[in-house]
């Protein structure tokens, strides 16, 4: 188990390495420049935050293409509303808040049109092309991903967003409350319930590992 974790950490590092270039500039400086109309600064902001935002939106909508569209919309809105950002140090929380609103609108539309989100086949295909991992590990990872994704999708919208922000994006309760607009009490309650539900669904998988 520890070996697998270490291997995973190395893979994660390798994947994130491509983004280190963007970390040369301070976020607040970039935001100030972008606010003044500097598109290059905004591109660097995009490089820095697009992956977590895309990941967060994917957690909410479970569809790669839709998550990309929503990421696009999130950054367009962020660019045009940069002047409304009061505290540059909280840019990431503010950006996630925009993403959350964009996703909520999309989910509401989807409910209205009564579309079944369906499984993202392309994602599942891409999950198979994982490169340097052994077939057994690939299988384990695939099973795990499927189990977690299915469990995540079974949560209602509020619990899913709170759980994703905590478990996958390591946000504090206050940040989650700020992003979602929920009270701190609701954040705690929803997170606890989400954990209970996720545990119930993941447990059979964990026991076989």
């Amino acid at each position: 188990m520890i070996e697998r974790l270490a291997l995973h950490a190395v893979q994660m590092k390798r994947r994130r390495g491509s983004h280190t270039g963007a970390l040369m500039n301070g976020s607040e400086d970039l935001i100030a420049r972008a606010r003044a109309g500097d598109q290059e600064a905004f591109r660097l902001i995009f490089e820095r935050y697009s992956r977590p935002v895309l990941g967060f939106l994917y957690d909410l909508v479970s569809q790669r293409d839709l998550a990309e569209e929503l990421t696009q919309e999130t950054f367009v809105r962020a660019y045009h509303n940069l002047k409304e950002l009061r505290d540059d140090a909280r840019f990431s929380t503010w950006l996630f808040g925009i993403g959350r609103n964009v996703a909520r609108e999309a989910l509401r539309l989807r409910r209205r049109d009564n579309q079944d989100p369906g499984k993202d086949d392309e994602f599942m295909q891409q999950q198979e092309d994982t490169g340097n991992v052994s077939p057994a590990e690939q299988l384990l990872e695939k099973e795990l991903n499927l189990a977690i994704e299915t469990a995540l999708r079974s949560l209602d919208e509020d619990k899913r967003v709170v759980f994703a922000l905590k478990a996958f994006h390591q946000r504090s309760y206050h940040e989650i409350a700020e992003i979602t607009g929920f009270s701190l009490g609701k954040v705690k309650t929803d997170l606890h319930r989400a954990r209970v539900e996720m545990r119930r669904r993941i447990r059979p998988y964990l026991e076989t590992r």
Partner: protein
């Protein structure tokens, strides 16, 4: 610290959300309690598993191009909107409200509403006092003489305090025969069944209490099926709401004509009902 105190906050401890004192208390308990330590280990294990969750969220290079195009489109659309607004502004010049001006107008509107409500209450109380001395024989006047047009302002006054009272489910029932309401003296031309805002608030409170009693019974039946951590969180929430209810009731008792105190009290009742409903539906 006991397990019943530790388990409800163990997630907060794990998430690093407890303050120094709370964190230390949990840590000390975990050192001596195998069951709670096992619960923490389960959380750690789950969290490690979630960290292994991989989804394909590599950003494709064309996404930035799409964002840039979106920014340009929005700029053009915004410029067109601004142009249209300027064009309209030339023909229909109007005041442009700043955020501060808008906030000031809202405060004035709230102030006016409160003043009007107080004004509506005061004359009625005065009339009732005068009438008790002058028109005592009229207290047997038929309830059928109630005039809707006369009752309306009072009801509106209360509905602005708590609109839900006007909701069909919570609408106050007419008082039963023989109640103080019917025996209350009235003035000439003023119907006997006009209820003061205070009476309506009391009736709303009674209805909330009845609903709370009913839901509490359902919750008590369900308690044995709930896990201890969830139950402890809910009990904590209910205790806190009960404290709020007690506080707001005291405030209303001291200032029965203060609409803000009334609103807080009814909101606290409503919150308790929400929590109890959640427990029943859980």
């Amino acid at each position: 610290m006991r397990c019943e105190e530790c388990l409800p906050v163990i997630e907060e401890y794990f998430d690093g959300e407890l303050d120094g004192q709370g964190r230390e208390a949990v840590r000390l308990h975990l050192d001596n309690c195998g069951a709670c330590a096992a619960a923490l280990r389960e959380l750690v294990k789950e969290n490690q598993t979630y960290r292994l969750y991989e989804r394909n969220v590599e950003v494709r290079p064309e996404l930035w191009a799409r964002v840039r195009a979106g920014i340009m489109e929005e700029r053009i659309a915004s410029a067109q909107r601004e142009g249209w607004r300027d064009w309209v502004g030339e023909f229909l010049p109007g005041p442009r409200l700043s955020a501060w001006l808008t906030a000031a107008m809202i405060v004035i509107a709230i102030g006016l509403t409160i003043t009007v409500m107080k004004y509506l209450q005061r004359p009625r109380e005065q009339r009732n006092t005068v009438s008790s001395a002058v028109n005592a024989p009229e207290k047997a006047q038929s309830p059928e003489s109630t005039s809707d047009s006369k009752t309306k302002p009072v009801t509106e006054g209360v509905s602005s305090v708590r609109p839900n009272i006007e909701d069909g489910r919570r609408r106050a029932k007419p008082p039963a025969a023989g109640t103080d309401q019917q025996r209350r003296p009235v003035t000439v031309g003023i119907p006997t069944r006009i209820r003061t805002p205070n009476q309506l608030v009391r009736e709303a409170e009674q209805k909330y209490l009845a609903a709370i009693a009913m839901l509490s019974r359902n919750v008590n039946r369900k308690r044995s099926r709930l896990d201890s951590a969830t139950l402890a969180k809910w009990d904590q929430a209910l205790t806190s709401i009960d404290r709020t209810i007690a506080g707001t009731r005291e405030a209303v008792r001291r200032h029965p004509n203060d609409p803000v105190a009334v609103q807080y009290m009814l909101t606290a009742y409503s919150r308790k009902i929400d929590v109890l409903r959640e427990m029943v539906d859980y």
